[in-house]
């Protein structure tokens, strides 16, 4: 920008917009673009085809009546089981990461890095086929046990890091106060550190639960009989039968029905924690 002659030549008022006028004009352009795109969509999309394949009334009915309830139940069962295993393992791993015994720290770190670096799909696949190289091996509660272990172990790696951060967020003075009252290191951890750490960690762990709900869809690669179908597998199979996308749409809405309230809950808890601080 030239600054040499500004004081002498009068500002070209008519050609140049003031910053606020310009911002106003840009805002109008943004609205116009939006309206145009929406109009284009409305005019070009074959709404009839969308309706018949995604929201086919007959198929919706069929989806609801051929065992949607079981699929929802299975999705929740897979998720909750994996979450519990992940939480238990994750807490142990977090404590190991903070241990004063070197090898415990190394093992926990290796575990965490290993399973965070692998796709959950691959881990699940390995657990699903373990009985081929080890015919004697029986995972209890099959197929649930397999899924719980596979997804739970992957989740434990992520949860361990979250829980570790939560434990470290508890100030050193808390442990000192507990110890100075004569508590053992273990009692101080159980009565003072973990309850406070868990409170910090609940919102991120709920996010982990949401991720797990979605990851439970990976179960479809395991050759599971119809009784063990979860939402995605159920929707996909029914979709193949009916040659329609409607069952998958219904399954998708079921996921949202579970995950959206949880997301809302997380946001509420985070807001409350921010206020308390």
């Amino acid at each position: 920008m030239s600054t040499t002659a500004t004081s002498e030549t009068p500002a070209p008022v008519k050609n140049k917009l003031s910053p606020r006028r310009r911002a106003q004009r840009i805002r109008w352009i943004q609205y116009a673009v939006l309206v145009l795109v929406v109009l284009a969509l409305i005019l070009t999309v074959d709404w009839k085809a969308v309706h018949t394949s995604f929201f086919n009334a007959e198929d919706i009915k069929l989806t609801f009546t051929s065992g949607l309830g079981t699929a929802v139940k299975n999705t929740l069962l897979y998720t909750v089981g994996a979450f519990v295993i992940g939480l238990i393992l994750g807490t142990i791993l977090a404590l190991m990461r903070l241990s004063s015994v070197g090898p415990y720290r190394w093992i926990a770190t290796a575990w965490i890095e290993f399973f965070r670096g692998l796709p959950a799909l691959l881990v699940l696949l390995v657990f699903g086929t373990l009985s081929i190289p080890f015919p004697g091996l029986v995972i209890p509660f099959d197929p649930y046990g397999t899924v719980w272990l596979g997804l739970g172990i992957v989740a434990s790696a992520y949860m361990a890091e979250t829980i570790r951060a939560g434990i470290q967020a508890v100030s050193k003075g808390q442990v000192e106060a507990a110890r100075s009252l004569g508590m053992t290191a273990g009692a101080a951890t159980r009565k003072v550190v973990l309850p406070q750490a868990l409170r910090v960690v609940i919102p991120p762990l709920t996010n982990e639960l949401i991720l797990l709900i979605k990851d439970s869809s990976l179960v479809f690669i395991l050759g599971i009989s119809a009784g063990g179908f979860e939402l995605t597998k159920y929707g996909r199979d029914l979709g193949n039968q009916t040659a329609s996308l409607t069952p998958l749409t219904v399954a998708g809405l079921c996921y949202l029905f579970i995950t959206l309230p949880l997301s809302l809950l997380v946001r509420r808890m985070e807001a409350r924690q921010k206020k308390e601080r």
């Binding site: 003075g173 000192e176 507990a178 100075s180 009252l181 004569g182 009565k191």
Partner: protein, 295 residues
Amino acid sequence: MTSTPTRTEAPIVEVTDLHKSFGSNHVLQGLNTTIQQGEVVCVIGPSGSGKSTFLRCINLLEEPTSGSIKVGGEEVTDPDCDIDAIRRNMGMVFQQFNLFPHLSVLENCTVAQTTVLKRSKEEARAKARENLEKVGLSEKADAYPAQLSGGQQQRVAIARALSMDPQLMLFDEPTSALDPELVGDVLSVMRRLASEGMTMFVVTHEMAFAREVADRVIFLDGGYIVEEGDPHQVIGAPREERTKTFLQRVLDPTHVDPGAEDAAYSKRHEGDATSDNVVKPLDTHGHYGGGAGIG
């Protein structure tokens, strides 16, 4: 604690040649002292002199580098010593209160009783209420620490420590984190405790309290015990030059030493006195041996 036959003669705490270093920072350089049953000992001194470290060594929150600390005749630094058992008999009050924020005031006072002393819930609650009454906060039993003022939190912390029926109470600058108008309540609780015969070891900046309540005052500077004795003597008529300089600054912050530019500068920055000394190579009066940053 179970009484020992030599109770009246043997000191509760016996510190011999206590050294503590943080890396190359030699914070405590050979301290010797004893605390008798029923005695109130106040430790005063500039920030960074090692007062808090000294106190924290007694219940092993800091591990001494060398030297001996005997509590009730037992060597604390001995790896075979049951430190939890010793801490049970020794209450500690922190500068930052360190109440458990997830527990109510009453639960703060009962949690260690039930887990450590295996007292029943009713017994623990009764004991907690008794001590909350003593610190004047029985009506706050169901409140949570975050709902209390700093002074109230510190009184709860005292009640929490007392609920373990300790033989000795350690206070680590209990009023330093408080708003000035809240200091009085905490001090009056401590004063009452002293008058009831509690053995107390207090690190403090409250000179008036030390003079009034202490049986003995220790002036610590640069990791050494510079002066020790009757509070009226140590605070009222100190013998050592370093004690005089320190007390002058604390008791009369507006006083200016004639010709002592450095001291005047430090006085204006009383709060961050140690950092001043890091920047300025002073020591014209020989105060502040070092140990900056420990308090």
